[in-house]
């Protein structure tokens, strides 16, 4: 894998450049390139070393990136809404997040749901979107010992990131709610509900106390 590194920052513009550059490389379909995946500020170019002209690929990346340096706005996208029931058995960390933030449970819900988040990248498991930035007043570190089983649909916070677990898996994020949205379905035309660069808002539809 060739790792293309842009500025090391969690920044919407840098991320936008990574996403656009990845899309261009994918659409060019250079010989030997098997997959192109953007990160926050990097791009993984997966290639077959025996089929790929690596020097030519690197030149293409350089010239495409040069043309992107002027890109200083993010594409205006529709906001994808995800309905969330906060708290209860499926949001077991809601109260402790409130306690750590020194605010009420309702404040945590308001602060989590009033922001529009950007999907910076997907990873961990299919359809898991890393979204940011969370209101710093409700920033929470991961659990020191991850839970062995986090149910599908769990909405969590880790640091300044928020995300939804698409399938039941182990996980260390602070779980504050739950959604019935299907984050990943391989049978759909577009299997992942969210793509890098998308904008997301969480809509509170209930609180379990």
């Amino acid at each position: 894998m060739l790792l293309v590194e842009l500025e090391p920052a969690i920044d919407p513009i840098v991320n936008e450049r990574a996403i656009v550059l990845a899309a261009r490389l994918r659409s060019q379909g250079a010989r030997g390139v098997r997959d192109v995946a953007p990160g926050y500020c990097t791009i993984g170019v997966h290639f077959d070393p025996l089929q790929t002209d690596l020097a030519a690929l690197e030149r293409t990346i350089q010239s495409e990136y040069a043309s992107l340096e002027a890109l200083d706005t993010v594409e205006d996208r529709a906001v994808i809404e995800i309905a969330v029931t906060y708290g209860g058995e499926l949001g077991p960390d809601l109260a402790s997040v409130a306690a750590a933030a020194g605010c009420s449970i309702d404040d945590v819900i308001a602060r989590h749901s009033e922001r529009t988040y950007r999907v910076y990248m997907l990873g961990f498991v299919p359809g898991f979107a890393y979204m940011g930035r969370v209101d710093p007043s409700i920033e929470m570190p991961r659990h020191r010992v991850p839970r062995e089983r986090v149910p599908a649909g769990s909405v969590g916070i880790a640091g300044l990131q928020t995300g939804v677990y698409p399938v039941e898996s182990p996980g260390g994020w602070q779980l504050i709610g739950h959604t019935t949205a299907v984050m990943f379905d391989p049978a759909r035309q577009q299997p992942s509900l969210l793509q890098a660069g998308d904008l997301v808002r969480f809509i509170p539809v209930g609180v379990s106390r």
Partner: protein, 324 residues
């Protein structure tokens, strides 16, 4: 094409359907999966007369017992198991014909860890996102997204005319519970003490019991980080050696996640990954540093081993042209 089946009597320790992997969806977090030893997977396919991406069964340490519900041609490559087809001993690295109802039984493992069973026309489970590879953690692909279990009927193609028998006996990867793997510096090599890369090159690491198709945890000397920063999660490739803050380095294998936030001191070169695929917990790895040129030369040498047995083998010497 009519369908036959491999009827699973005993599944073995971990037997899963694999093709060359699920590429094209890593941007949405879909892992690649695929064979741990892609070389032996491809060789098995060549012997069975298949294209390289046809799905095989990856067989791990303890092999299965299968009833072949088809008249077909099979081939096994990779780890040296003692295998019987009814009363007939079967050679690893050689294709063989079977008739409907014959029983294929894997016995003692002599060398290596993973064997690949190819069937003429390939295993015919439904492709998912363009691939039949099984990813165990996300329960995607292959046979219901899982390892095979007793009672499963794995669909295969069933052909009336047997294919010619092919031999590549002796073309096995050396293992003997130890592998020398060549590495190149990783993107965060400078996060470690300047001697760290040399350190990993000088010693043996033991593969810990907490190892699986996602990665091998390696027990050995600590790799001292000199840079305390937090890495922003970035895409991962197979063969990366990532180093958690405290703990054992992890060599990322076939079922790796698509992205991660641990610094990567190095990458095992593509040519040597199949050697890693023939190891198991308790086995040892030694790393040797190499250059990009050496990595490409090693991969070409590895490919030539396969080309020697390719069906439509181009005249000797021409395979180099597509490499330039």
């Amino acid at each position: 094409m009519t369908l036959g089946a491999l009827q699973v009597v005993k599944p073995g320790l971990l037997t899963s359907v694999q093709d060359l992997g699920r590429y094209g969806h890593q941007a949405t977090g879909v892992p690649v999966a695929g064979p741990m030893d892609s070389f032996s997977h491809r060789l098995a396919n060549q012997l069975a007369g298949n294209e390289a991406n046809a799905a095989t069964l990856e067989i791990t340490l303890i092999g299965p017992e299968l009833i072949v519900d088809a008249d077909t041609t099979l081939a096994i490559a990779g780890a040296l198991f003692e295998v019987m087809c009814d009363d007939r001993p079967i050679a690893i690295g050689e294709s063989f014909n079977v008739t409907r109802g014959q029983r294929l039984k894997f016995g003692r493992l002599v060398e290596g860890s993973r064997a690949y069973l190819a069937v003429a026309g390939g295993v015919q489970t439904a492709p998912l996102l363009g691939s039949r590879a099984t990813h165990l953690v996300s329960r995607m692909g292959g046979f219901e997204g899982r390892a095979l279990a007793a009672g499963d009927r794995v669909p295969i193609s069933s052909e009336s005319s047997p294919r010619p028998v092919r031999k590549a006996t002796g073309l096995t990867l050396p293992s003997n519970h130890r592998a020398l793997l060549r590495v190149m510096a990783g993107p965060q090599a400078n996060w470690f003490h300047a001697d760290a890369l040399k350190t990993i090159a000088g010693v043996s690491f033991r593969i810990s019991p907490q190892s699986n198709r996602m990665g091998y945890r390696l027990q050995g000397p600590p790799l001292v980080r000199t840079h305390d920063g937090e890495l922003i999660s970035e895409p991962l490739g197979i063969g990366a050696i990532q180093v958690p803050t405290a703990g054992e380095p992890i060599l990322l294998m076939a079922d790796r996640q698509t992205a991660g936030g641990y610094p990567k001191i190095g990458y095992v070169i593509s040519a040597d990954l199949p050697l890693a695929g023939q190891l198991a917990p308790g086995d040892f790895i030694e790393f040797h540093l190499c250059t990009a040129q050496e990595a490409v030369a090693a991969l070409i040498a590895r490919e030539r081993q396969l080309l020697r047995y390719a069906d439509l083998l181009a005249p000797a010497g021409t395979e180099g042209k597509q490499l330039s």
